[in-house]
């Protein structure tokens, strides 16, 4: 998937583009073509997921995505693939401890995980120190890639710049004469919070939007009343933020109590988990999110993911796969294609494969820069929107069964 808005071209020289890319495009649907990784013995993956703590509402979905992906890897590779997963309790310290324990007890070839920039960077620091290839999704923060000298960390996931561009694309779906222009950004006081706010402010300002409010709040804060009052006072029409899931849910309740409904609401991460709908119901409708993968996307194994999930966990009529499943499954697809390209489980071979392969996964087609960032312009960050209990792709405009037209403007909370 290429973002035509940027016009950036892909890496020119790709040693193994054909093999790995084709595997992704065909949905990994056949093991004969790329069956052998060349390695022998077991490929062991260590991972942590947040099954408890502030990100726990997504932990199970991430685990399911990994496990479905590992099952697919076992189908596709000649060697056995096993994954050792521990709960990291949504704590960076626990990520490090868990990874220490996993790698002490197992001969780990690769590390995955966890969720959110806070936890992924903790895992990445461990992997960099140990010289183990690391794949981290749900990690939009670009700063560490640029500043930490990453050698082993690769992030198959849209980054802050992609989220900002996707937001612009979403807004451009609204007819120009109806399009709102007053943007408010609630910025969590974290590195990624500042980076994402910068990306939104510069991208949308350049596109002619009026950023009328940019205010910080403490991550973990439960009182959004001041921000809400400030947004009302500034007549913010497009509200953008990236709070934690509990914070996002609380803020919606407080917006309702303060009789404030923006016309467009995009909450990156907060609106990702299914807990959003179970906590808010119809109050959660219309909220947009940018979780890396959204039901409605097509190609690159999406059909296989759909059928594997349905067969393993079941889906009721109209029910959609949680977004975090797709983001995690995409990690496994990258690992599979890298393993095939590396033809060895040697860390150096993985490193070369990660740097030189074009990957085709459920989130799109992309290559990595040497610092582990997806090459600029290659990944479109799909924007999803909550509607009738499901997260549907609304941007880009795709033909997937679960995709739908962007619903705008939001119906005021009090009228739902």
């Amino acid at each position: 998937m290429v973002d035509s808005a940027t016009g950036n071209s892909r890496r020119q020289y790709l040693k193994t583009v054909g093999a790995a890319g084709a595997a992704g495009m065909t949905g990994l649907a056949g093991c004969t073509a790329f069956g052998g990784s060349g390695g022998s013995g077991t490929l062991t993956i260590g991972a942590t997921v947040p099954e408890t703590g502030s990100f726990s509402s997504l932990g199970q979905d991430v685990r399911r995505g990994y496990e479905l992906g590992v099952a697919r890897m076992n189908d596709q590779l000649d060697q056995e693939v096993e994954i050792v997963i521990q709960d990291d309790e949504s704590s960076a310290d626990q990520v490090r401890q868990s990874l220490q324990q996993i790698t002490s007890n197992n001969d780990v070839d690769m590390i995955w995980g966890s969720f959110s920039s806070l936890l992924v960077t903790a895992g990445s620091a461990f992997a960099e120190n140990q010289g183990i290839p690391f794949l981290g999704a749900f990690f939009a923060f670009e700063g560490p890639h640029r500043n930490e000298g990453y050698e082993w960390t690769y992030s198959p996931f849209p980054k802050s710049r992609d989220v900002a561009r996707s937001t612009q694309g979403l807004l451009e779906l609204i007819p120009e004469d109806e399009r709102p222009s007053r943007v408010g950004i609630w910025e969590p006081n974290s590195g990624w919070g500042a980076e994402q706010a910068d990306a939104w402010e510069s991208t949308l300002s350049d596109a002619g939007y009026d950023v009328v409010l940019r205010e910080t709040f403490s991550l973990g804060s439960e009182d959004f009343s001041t921000l809400i009052s400030q947004s009302q006072s500034q007549e913010v029409e497009i509200l953008l933020s990236n709070p934690t899931p509990p914070g996002g849910i609380t803020s919606i309740n407080q917006m309702q109590a303060n009789d404030y409904t923006p016309e467009v609401l995009k909450y990156v991460r907060a609106a990702d988990p299914t807990a959003w709908w179970s906590a808010l119901g119809q109050k959660g409708a219309y909220a947009c999110m940018c979780p890396g993968w959204v039901p409605g996307m097509t190609g690159n194994g999406n059909t296989d993911l759909q059928s594997a999930y349905e067969s393993e966990y079941g889906l009721d009529q109209g029910q959609l796969i949680p977004t975090a499943v797709g983001g995690a499954y995409n990690v496994a697809q990258v690992a599979l294609q890298a393993t095939q390209a590396a033809e060895s489980t040697d860390p150096g071979a993985y490193q070369s494969a990660l740097r030189e392969t074009e990957f085709g996964t459920v989130i799109g087609d992309f290559t990595f820069e040497s610092n582990g960032l997806p090459t600029e312009g290659e990944l479109t960050a799909p924007t999803g929107q909550w509607w009738d209990g499901g997260q549907h792709t609304v941007y880009p405009d795709v033909d997937g069964d679960a995709a739908m037209d962007f619903e705008y403007p939001m119906t005021p909370w009090g009228e739902r």
């Binding site: 502030s54 709040f217 009343s225 509990p246 609380t250 309740n253 109590a257």
Partner: protein
């Protein structure tokens, strides 16, 4: 310069939030003032009260305003049991032992909460959750206003209890001089049991009220303990009026500070006030140093 309407709105939001802080701190202040014990498990007891209200609401649709009384009753018994079974054994062994015991209790409650209830954030969203009252240019969030009114009522009821009942007078006498109270025939051991029971019950009430406003997880105990501690230091240990004023000052300072300095300064503002009071007026705004419960 922010418009006047915005400042007024944020002032009102701060006052309403301050009332909630005050009731969250009330039980801590009472126990601290009367028993000279910093109840490090206070925030976790508040968390338990919140869960009682949330579970009652989820299971039977009972509003936390009613569930609050169930939470108070259960936590009153829990508080008395803790005093009888644990604290009575260490209360005469200096200030460290009870603190260590209560710290351990806090960890146990947090871990139990995580195992039994899971760590997903929950709240009790009642019918009033999305409603508000508009007076002039200012909007009064209904759940916050109701919580504020109930909080002030609880504070007044606690004050009246200590002021006008025999048990309340015995509690105040024990706070002033435990040995003298004992010589006057007051069963001070029983008074301690009742005091911790009341302090714990008030934590339960605060938790039930908070469950209508904020998400609750087994991990919220420490943050509420810190806020409550700041309120107690600000208002004065053991002072009921001081607790209310301390809560209001903290709520307003946080909200106005957020408006003028930015949300990243919210906790810095709380704890700067806390430190300033400790340095300039360690007994707090209303404290006499004696902790007489008034």
């Amino acid at each position: 310069m922010p418009p006047t309407e915005l400042v007024l709105q944020i002032l009102v939001n701060g006052l309403l939030l301050g009332g909630i802080y005050a009731v969250a701190a009330l039980g801590l202040s009472l126990v601290f003032g009367i028993m000279d014990i910093v109840n490090l498990a206070h925030g976790h007891m508040l968390m338990l009260g919140a869960y009682v209200a949330i579970l009652l609401f989820a299971a039977a649709g009972i509003t936390p305003l009613i569930g609050m009384f169930v939470a108070m009753a259960l936590l009153f018994v829990l508080g008395m049991a803790i005093q009888v079974l644990v604290l009575d054994r260490v209360v005469d062994e200096g200030i460290e032992q009870p603190i260590i015991v209560l710290f351990g209790l806090a960890l146990v409650l947090q871990s139990l909460g995580r195992i039994v209830l899971g760590s997903d954030a929950r709240s009790a969203e009642v019918g009033i959750s999305g409603q508000s009252l508009e007076i002039g240019p200012v909007l009064f969030s209904f759940p916050r206003t109701v919580t504020f009114v109930v909080s002030v009522a609880l504070i007044l009821a606690t004050w009246a209890f200590l002021r006008y009942t025999t048990t309340g007078r015995a509690i105040r006498a024990t706070a002033q001089n435990r040995d003298a109270a004992r010589y006057m025939g007051i069963d001070t051991d029983r008074i301690y049991v009742i005091t911790l029971g009341i302090g714990t019950a008030l934590a339960g009430a605060a938790g039930a009220l908070l469950s209508m406003l904020f998400p609750i997880t087994p991990f919220v105990g420490w943050s509420y303990l810190l806020k409550a501690f700041a309120v107690v230091v600000l208002g004065g240990v053991g002072s009921i009026a001081g607790t209310l004023v301390g809560g209001l000052v903290l709520g307003v300072s946080e909200n106005l500070g957020t408006l003028y300095l930015g949300g990243g300064f919210r906790d810095i503002i709380s704890f700067t006030i806390f430190l300033l009071v400790l340095v300039v007026r360690p007994q707090g705004l209303f404290g006499t140093g004696g902790g007489d419960g008034e």
